[in-house]
Symmetry: C2
Subunit: 262 residues, 2 copies
DNA sequence: GTCTATAATTGGATAGAC
DNA sequence: GTCTATCCAATTATAGAC
């Protein structure tokens, strides 16, 4: 609000945000390398030099794109978890609720498919819209090997991961720590795959699985799957020999309560 | 074998394979865009122009890298499944075995960490070694948006997915088709996350989870998790309203046998 | 089949006027 | 803050000698 904006009247957004929005679109569509600043500024309807003015470099722009989104997303996760813990008054939480608190925010974001608000054009760019673009971008970032990218993601995630890990540890005392670490790993994998969704790896899934589902519907499917996995019978104590010849130990549902198995 | 190879004596590999090996290394490390043909041919110890001679273009090289690996990998999966089905003589397979047949080959490949055989140098480049490099590359390919890449992967995967889907459908008759499609999706996600492993998304997992494990050990952990998920109690019939207020339906282990729920 | 040299493009970044 | 014009580095791809 320094001086009156250039031409547009009311609903226009400033150059900085126009760039961030266009970057989100084009990075998600073509990757960080192939999306050129030229294409990007054209999409945003701003001048080429504006990127360097506002973000210093292309790398700075990439960083800004992630910071804008990840902070509120993870804050929401922590809020939901904190609300659950308040309601539980110190008791352990049902694992279902923990999963929902972690996955809900990102799932809802990934299914927010408002049209792209492309072109240099104007009104209703509000808040950059359509979170699923950012989610695709996030999936892309996970396979990035750049040092800076990894550090960025790690910094944004470390707190939520620790908090949710603690909550799950209390919720599932019968699962040894190391086993739980792996099961969280599997859980995160299933979640990531779902939100990566549409054009990433869907090919390997069956073709009936489409993103036309509502978030609640997906949640209703994935929660029982993950809770069953998290509370599954523990593998036998011996670390070795679960090869293809091990007996199919079927569907027992006993929960051994040993902690820290080997 | 047309004329005697340039200088090296016995164990040298031809230019074509040297390029493929170097491409696998550098594409996995830096991505398809950032790994230049210059860096790549330097790594391989071959001339820059050789890439275009042997593969037509950089895109052609990328295609060749994937084709060399995916075909045998998926053939192995189909072989293992076929062996199981022969042994079962027409009966349904235990889901544990199906998961192992699908995941075993890629898991073993991902944990094959023979050193990179880098540099222009020579002997023991055999078969390109260390499959985990290719696995990382595969993870990267999944987030690629290029049309050609998607078609390539889809073509390589369609048969295995169909065959394994059929096997799981027979193994889990109590799970409705659509539900099973989702559960396969979750399953593939957990698997992908594990093999993407080391530097991809490990940050979000807990730091105790390391790739130092043996394939059998990982398999022993993931199989019970996935089988429990695949055989989990079905969500209630109504499609709506599994929001954060649904009752925590805990750990029943009843399996409703309805097929095709809404 | 392999090499050198170079063409043809495209990219990120910046200087300096406004 | 925005713009034009331009620099400079790096890329893929190819032509043509060997």
């Amino acid at each position: 609000m320094k001086t009156a904006p250039k031409t547009r009247d009311i609903v226009n957004v400033n150059t900085r945000e126009r760039i961030l929005n266009a970057a989100e679109v084009l990075f998600a569509e073509h990757g960080f390398e192939r999306a050129s600043l030229r294409a990007l500024t054209a999409e945003a309807g701003v001048n080429l030099a504006a990127v360097n003015y506002h973000f210093g470099s292309k790398a700075g722009l990439i960083r800004a794109v992630f910071e804008r989104r990840l902070a509120p997303l993870n804050a929401e996760r922590l809020n939901e978890l904190a609300a659950l813990e308040r309601a539980a008054r110190g008791g352990p939480l049902p694992p279902e609720r923990i999963i929902e608190a972690f996955f809900g925010p990102v799932l809802r974001m990934s299914m927010d498919r408002r049209p792209a608000a492309r072109g240099g054009s104007t009104q209703r760019d509000r808040g950059a819209g359509s979170g699923h673009r950012f989610i695709r971008l996030l999936g892309r970032a996970h396979t990035e090997s750049r040092q800076a990218m990894r550090e960025l993601l790690e910094a944004e995630y470390v707190e939520v991961v620790e908090r949710f890990k603690a909550a799950l540890t209390r919720a599932l005392p019968q699962v040894p720590e190391k086993e739980l670490a792996w099961r969280m790993h599997f859980t995160l994998g299933a979640m990531s795959y779902v939100i990566a969704g549409t054009d990433a790896v869907q090919l390997s899934a069956s073709y009936e699985v489409r993103q036309s589902e509502h978030p609640e519907s997906v949640m209703k499917r994935i929660v029982p799957f993950l809770v069953a996995g998290l509370t599954a019978p523990l593998p036998e104590a011996g670390e070795r020999g679960a090869g293809a010849n091990a007996p199919a130990n079927g569907r027992r549902d006993d929960r051994n309560a040993e902690r820290k198995a080997a």
